[in-house]
């Protein structure tokens, strides 16, 4: 099933889910709505990263840089009097622009070298942001008072999440997505077929960076206070990579499931005092188990389920 129909079906599903979520405030209290917000935020990050990391196969562990750029752009502009939501397009643009700065020199590198370079860039940005005065340095920045509206805050994140997932589904089924898949599988063969790999990589990088920066703007609006420690953290970059892989890298639904599972689990584990002392152990063990037994992530597990239920356990062929 290719073509328009294939691309529309998931989009309709996502739109329906989005609509339901937008109606949620009428039924649920703040507690659940906050959880949904966190999950939606994670979905945006995971799905955006997946465009470059999953579809195109270029693994970057430096995405917190884009989140931070979006957050700081919004905060700094808001302090100068601009309406916070109006800063979103500019923040996304700056994120995309920075991705050029990062991508142009580093896309020459293949595989793990590229990954390490992105780690370096991410860290350099963090140190820079913490050391320079106009970003407030290590004290961070507070948004101007009165710029928070819960309903708008909630809706905007849900809408962004829906938009990103729809976009991802659209891309995956398109010619652009096919080119990315070719690059992921064998970049030399793709180039031999006439695909300018660098141009595609740069384009998808800019797109995904812009989306993450937009999420950063909403982050700043939600938390009202940002600091280098909260937006430029290496652990954050790692978790952005973790979610799509946990859920099933390269697919459309994978990052969504990974984001839901991961972010929800993380907050819930931290909220239960009894689990507090073993939080790291649980999180770590979970990662280890999933990587060992189902590297295709949750989607892989899901796929295996009907087969495992239908046939006797002796059937052990890998998918």
């Amino acid at each position: 099933m290719t073509g328009l129909r294939a691309r529309l079906r998931p989009s309709v599903t996502v739109a329906a889910a989005g609509l339901l979520l937008l109606l949620a405030p009428r039924v649920f209290g703040r507690g659940i709505l906050n959880d949904i917000w966190s999950v939606a935020f994670a979905v945006v990050l995971a799905s955006s990263w997946n465009l470059l990391g999953g579809l195109a196969g270029q693994v970057s562990i430096g995405y917190s840089a884009f989140l931070g750029i979006g957050a700081y752009t919004t905060a700094l502009l808001a302090l100068r009097g601009m309406q916070p939501y109006a800063t979103l397009p500019l923040a996304a643009l700056l994120g995309a622009a920075f991705s050029f700065v990062v991508g142009l020199p580093t896309f020459r590198l293949r595989g793990p070298y590229f990954t390490i370079a992105t780690i370096g860039v991410g860290e350099a940005v963090r140190v820079f942001a913490g050391g320079v005065a106009f970003t407030g340095g290590s004290s961070g920045i507070r948004m101007p008072p009165g710029s928070f509206d819960f309903g708008l805050n909630y809706a905007s994140m849900v809408v962004l999440a829906v938009a990103v997932v729809t976009l991802a589904a659209w891309l995956r089924g398109s010619a652009f997505g096919a080119a990315l898949a070719a690059i992921r599988q064998d970049i030399d063969a793709a180039e031999a077929l006439g695909i300018n790999a660098t141009r595609y990589k740069v384009a998808v990088h800019a797109l995904s960076a812009g989306l993450v920066a937009a999420a950063g703007s909403l982050f700043a609006i939600n938390f009202q206070y940002i600091s280098p420690g909260s937006v430029f953290d290496f652990r954050l970059s790692l978790s952005i990579v973790l979610m799509p892989i946990l859920g099933g890298v390269g697919t459309v639904a994978g990052p969504v499931w990974g984001a839901i599972f991961f972010s929800y689990l993380q907050i819930k584990m931290l909220s239960v005092p009894a689990l507090r002392d073993s939080y790291l152990f649980l999180y770590g063990t979970l990662l280890i188990l999933i990587m060992l037994f189902e590297p295709k992530g949750l989607l892989g597990l899901w796929e295996r389920l009907p087969r495992a239920l239908r046939r006797p356990p002796k059937e052990a062929s890998a998918a």
């Binding site: 996502v14 329906a16 507690g31 050391g131 340095g137 507070r142 600091s227 907050i267």
Partner: protein, 409 residues
């Protein structure tokens, strides 16, 4: 391939969320049986050392309160139900967890440790209108924004100016010759910046006495302090004033000692008499002076009593962070008692007007200023040879004489 899971995604998603989140209490129970207090601390992560100490002291304080029957609200005593969560030293998570505790209807929130973390947290009490008392952040910028936010730790710039007062007295006694050249080296955090600000403000207010020969900042957990200390050596200052976390204090002072540097007076801000520093540096910490929010040497009977209770419960001497965390809980309990009720406004007004007259903190009285932050005096302690420590400033609390300039070895 992916459409199959997605078609069931939406209803599944909402169902799952209902199942999970439904567990939290729907709204405050009509008749509150206990006082619910939430706390979010960095038990793991970068700030885990002091974060976990704060946890220990907070739980100790709550246990003492509950052992005494609880907080007296007039009709009867109410026990305190503490929910203490770990934010892994991540500001965003910290804020999220505070928000979660608030939506689970705690009556008050005890803030965390560390300016970035508490700044992030302090957004939530304002958003929801819940009383919030932070025991672990001295940055001025956190307070004064919201009527709901209070803090036990006095501003770091006052810490700095207290140290400057002490040095000023030494100048006045002829022990240091003016103009005293200062090498000012601070960590790149809010704490460090406030410290540097305090020093600079004092210098401006006392022209001709002090001059800053070098001002530098460094990143937390700098692996190699040699480049920085080479610059300090080159500045040929009389006094070294640094502001650093414990690990950096240890690393920097080790390099300092190995490089054979010398200054007439040396301080690392709030560090100095920390037991862990003594363990790591031995006699190299002799004569280092420090200015802290608390010292176990304070000559008040309530301090001696606290020391004894802490020692018998934990087996070791209390450090300053144990005391401040402990006193924060006590202040909140006193405020709730004063409020006589559990409504947010009542507790908030209780905090605004509470006066703890037997406080273990310097000055002996704990109350919150108009901005919500407690502005209390600091003490200056100086390490003496043989593992001894003396309070050397202010004169009223002195337990020993200040040694300055430091004797050359």
């Amino acid at each position: 391939m992916p459409s199959k899971p997605k078609s069931v995604s939406a209803p599944l998603l909402l169902a799952a969320l209902c199942a999970f989140s439904g567990a939290s209490p729907a709204g405050g129970a009509p008749e509150d049986q206990t006082i619910r207090i939430g706390a979010v601390l960095p038990v793991t992560g970068k700030e885990s050392k002091i974060g976990s100490a704060y946890k220990q002291a907070t739980e100790f304080a709550i246990r003492e309160i509950n052992d005494g029957g609880g907080i007296d609200l007039g009709a009867r005593k109410f026990k305190v139900d503490l929910t203490l969560l770990d934010d892994t030293s991540d500001p965003a998570k910290s804020a999220q967890l505070v928000e979660q505790l608030i939506t689970q209807k705690v009556h008050a929130v005890i803030g965390g440790y560390g300016s970035q973390l508490v700044q992030a947290q302090s957004v939530m009490p304002e958003r929801y209108g819940v009383p919030f008392l932070a025991g672990g952040a001295g940055a001025r910028s956190i307070y004064g924004r919201s009527k709901w936010v209070f803090g036990t730790l006095s501003p770091v710039d006052v810490l700095a100016s207290t140290q400057m007062d002490f040095l000023d007295a030494l100048v006045g006694a002829g022990r240091l010759r003016k103009p005293v050249k200062i090498a000012l080296v601070t960590e790149n955090t809010e704490h460090g910046k406030d410290y540097a600000q305090g020093v600079q403000d004092f210098i401006r207010a006392h022209p001709g006495e002090f001059v800053v020969a070098l001002e530098e900042s460094f990143e937390l957990y700098t692996p190699d302090f040699k480049p920085l200390l080479s610059r300090v050596a080159g500045a040929r200052a009389d006094v070294l004033m640094a502001d650093a976390h414990l690990e950096d204090y240890i690393a920097m002072h080790r390099a300092y000692t190995q490089m054979g540097l010398y200054h007439q007076m040396v301080t690392y801000g709030a560090r100095g008499a920390d037991a862990a520093a003594r363990k790591a540096l031995g006699s190299a910490t002799d004569y280092v002076f420090a200015s802290g929010w608390w010292s176990d040497l304070l000559p008040y009977p309530q301090v001696k009593a606290f020391n004894a209770r802490w020692k018998s419960a934990t087996g070791s001497d209390p450090q300053w962070y144990h005391a401040t965390a402990y006193e924060t809980v006590r202040a909140l309990a006193a405020a709730i008692h004063k409020a006589g009720g559990l409504s947010p406004d009542a507790i908030r007004n209780g905090l605004a007007t509470v006066e703890l007259k037997d406080s273990i903190l310097p000055g002996g009285v704990l109350k919150f200023s108009a901005s919500g932050q407690a502005i209390l005096p600091f003490v200056v302690t100086q390490n003496k040879p043989g593992d001894k420590v003396d309070i050397v400033w202010p004169k009223e609390s002195k337990t020993g004489e200040a040694v300055g300039p430091i004797p050359r070895s």
